[in-house]
């Protein structure tokens, strides 16, 4: 009886071993083919001669991107961001940094001309918004001023002129226009507008609409021209008006070859201020970079902001001068001096900011 029971246990263990081997091997090999993980990280040192500023290091972020291919038509992407040396303990007031889901979307590919994405996405706007935090993908330490929170009057909080992220549905694709390689890329998104939470339920029944179109001609290799649009009812309002209907229009140009990169962008944003007037803010910049010996890239960026297009006295500019050194194809050491005009921060004196940064894509 006992001998028989031992035999049964032994047989059961053998079957279990064989089954677990089959399941383990098949699932692990499937995952090798279907799952990709990569990311980027950045650490900065900054110092400024503005009054009251503190110099120091900043573990800006580390982002882990996971991409899962369900099959040849469906993929899922998640982007988890750890910012500012994340050390969070529940109920601890000394907790620092943030951890957040920057992106979480699924994509169904109907064809190369049409893909449908749903989830939390980055707003497709201009040359930088899709890569605004991925410092390893551009020469400067920070993206251009156009993509930052900007203080537009002494009474207003610094604000972006279009949403960085949105939650909703996006239709995108690439059209081959001829056999020589001309292409047209487009994306159109509908989502929740800016508010207390862009990822949860919307706060009102108004939707944000974003659109971007980009043309890459075959005749001029390395050149591209694009245009972007964004509108929503902004819960907080750039001008301090709740649920303000706001618009942003952008145009961008880029030329890039092995040595040279030239970028220029312009943006006009329309919003209401407290007294009921509608203001249009304009921002533009040009950035020129030239790569020597394949690794050393000095660059200059000149940005102009006209806080109110109808008032020439509302203008200020910023000049950035920097150097990017590619230590390896994925690791970059950057240094930059930003010359801030006093008008930019509505302060008494102009000031300069020195930054040095290491950025990596892995």
């Amino acid at each position: 009886m006992i001998k028989n029971m031992h035999r049964q246990i032994f047989a059961f263990l053998i079957i279990l071993l064989v089954l677990s081997h089959i399941v383990f091997v098949s699932s692990s090999s499937a995952q090798e083919k279907r799952f990709e993980i990569y990311g980027y990280s950045q650490i900065d040192f900054s110092a400024s001669n503005s009054s009251g500023s503190i110099s120091g290091f900043n573990q800006r972020r580390i982002n882990l991107i996971g991409e899962f291919f369900l099959d040849q038509k469906i993929r899922v992407l998640s982007d988890i961001e750890f910012k500012g040396g994340t050390d969070i303990t529940p109920n601890d007031p000394n907790s620092v940094g943030t951890v957040k889901v920057s992106r979480a979307w699924m994509e169904y590919s109907v064809s190369s001309e049409l893909k449908i994405r749903a989830g939390k996405m980055i707003t497709p706007f201009g040359l930088y918004n899709l890569i605004h935090d991925a410092s390893a993908s551009y020469f400067a330490v920070d993206p251009p001023l156009l993509y930052s929170d900007i203080k537009l009057s002494p009474s207003l909080q610094p604000n972006r002129l279009f949403a960085k992220y949105y939650t909703g549905v996006e239709f995108l694709g690439t059209l081959d226009l001829d056999k020589e390689g001309s292409q047209l890329e487009y994306s159109v998104g509908i989502g929740n507008g800016r508010g207390l939470s862009i990822t949860g339920d919307d706060l009102n029944n108004n939707r944000s609409v974003s659109a971007r179109i980009m043309y890459r001609p075959s005749l001029l290799r390395g050149f591209q021209i694009g245009s972007s649009f964004y509108t929503d009812r902004n819960y907080d309002g750039i001008g301090g008006v709740k649920n303000d209907l706001e618009y942003a229009y952008g145009i961008d140009l880029q030329y890039e070859d092995s040595e040279m990169q030239i970028q220029a962008e312009g943006l006009a944003s329309s919003y209401k201020i407290i007294n009921g007037d509608r203001i249009t803010t304009g921002i533009s910049y040009i950035q020129i970079a030239y790569t020597f010996f394949d690794v050393l890239t000095p660059f200059v960026n000149y940005s102009i902001v006209l806080a109110d297009l109808s008032n020439n006295n509302s203008m200020f500019s910023r000049f950035n001068l920097g150097l990017n050194y590619a230590i390896s194809p994925n690791l970059f050491l950057k240094t930059e001096i930003q010359f801030h005009q006093s008008e930019e921060e509505f302060s008494e004196n102009s000031f300069n900011v020195f930054k040095i940064s290491a950025a990596i894509a892995f």
């Binding site: 083919k33 990709e36 990569y38 980027y40 991107i65 991409e67 291919f69 040849q72 038509k73 993929r75 992407l77 982007d79 992106r103 979307w105 590919s109 109907v110 064809s111 190369s112 996405m121 980055i122 899709l130 890569i131 991925a134 390893a136 993908s137 551009y138 690439t174 081959d176 056999k179 020589e180 390689g181 292409q183 890459r216 075959s218 290799r221 890039e256 070859d257 092995s258 790569t291 394949d294 690794v295 590619a326 390896s328 194809p329 994925n330 894509a361």
Partner: protein, 140 residues
């Protein structure tokens, strides 16, 4: 006449030498694509085209930036340095447009990867020693 003939032979041999240095584009034999234009190839290797005509995601296979075959390929087909191509791919992948290329240290590893992945594309320095699971894509 002899003088001109000498130069003709020299030019021809130089042309043949250059041709022999051209990289061979390879894919899996199950991939139905047989030919690509140079412009198509450039768009694939710069992340501008991310799906095949069959609507399946392209898996790009490449070499480390210091690889000699990659330098030659980048020069011949992309008109960009490998460093610039790497930076373009960082932008493409981190924006969520496409997965970055699989990077290999040698041709055997790359061939093995393409042999195992129907939608992969890569290049090698010569069409010799290709297994039955690999085929050459003609560039028009």
């Amino acid at each position: 006449m002899k003088f001109y003939f000498k130069y003709l032979v020299l030019i021809c041999s130089f042309t043949i030498f250059c041709e022999s240095n051209a990289q061979v584009i390879i894919s899996n034999t199950n991939n139905p694509i047989a030919t690509l234009s140079k412009a198509n190839l450039r768009n694939i290797f710069l992340g501008n085209t991310i799906t095949w005509a069959t609507d399946q995601f392209i898996k790009v296979a490449d070499y480390t930036a210091e690889s000699k075959v990659r330098k030659e390929f980048s020069n011949n087909y992309l008109d960009l340095t490998p460093q610039k191509v790497s930076m373009i791919w960082i932008k493409v992948s981190l924006s969520g447009k496409a997965v970055p290329p699989k990077i290999f240290r040698d041709e055997d590893e790359l061939k093995q990867f393409i042999a195992e992945n129907e939608n992969a594309i890569g290049y090698v320095s010569s069409s010799q020693n290709l297994s039955q699971k690999l085929k050459v894509i003609q560039i028009r």
